[in-house]
Symmetry: C2
Subunit: 122 residues, 2 copies
Amino acid sequence: MDRCAPNRSPGCPVEGALDVIGGKWKGVVMYHLLDGTKRFNELHRMMPGVTQRMLTRQLRELEADGLVHREVYAEVPPRVEYSLTAKGDTLRQIILALKAWGETHVPYYAYDKKQNPERLKA
Amino acid sequence: MDRCAPNRSPGCPVEGALDVIGGKWKGVVMYHLLDGTKRFNELHRMMPGVTQRMLTRQLRELEADGLVHREVYAEVPPRVEYSLTAKGDTLRQIILALKAWGETHVPYYAYDKKQNPERLKA
DNA sequence: ACCCATAGTGTCATTTTGTATACTAATGGA
DNA sequence: TCCATTAGTATACAAAATGACACTATGGGT
């Protein structure tokens, strides 16, 4: 295996990838968006643990990294739709792999899988 | 796609998996350990950006999560060897996928790959 | 007139993460 | 005798990530 480059903070490609999806909620946001376009509050309802502010930030960062597309409709009440970009979609297999791994290796989910043995593909 | 569970902080399997390898240095540590057993300072030299303290912390967390095995030899000077556990090795494909993704999608590395087009497998 | 909803923003507090620096103990080498 | 090495720990501190909570504008319903 090759050495991991001169290595400062974004020293490794591994680290670079993790910087992009490693935010506390980014993985989950991406996961939900795999399923298709979602509005802001739709995402929010799917992730009750996150505050509006954090969700906004994470979405903005994902947008800045080119993984998520933000479409604003000039309506009242406001409507904003989020979807994966082509680049974002390149993470699909990784997100699904993380989900599968979490389901089999994070104790908290192990039981859940037995009761709900759906295929691990979207 | 299924709803993401009652969803508190470790609400998603995706999030659970990310908690485990999402630490700032954990991905890189795991990546280096894919290659085989390493001593503390060996890892440290491979990641000049990390302080001893952080490296220690990340290794302890990985150990606590059962991904890394820590073997202490009662010698002088001290010797401690780190290696992947069987559970840790289940992340191999994911780490390699993250590396491949980083190399093609994180701008910083894109050029690097052209100059060094090694196979993306270990 | 009052309340609801949307997609946020502003302010502040707390938690997590990271850094710097000095310290340890036993041994081998100069 | 002094210094380097190993794999850390202790203490103190700074910075970044995250969280709680109140607030906004607009229009529709009652």
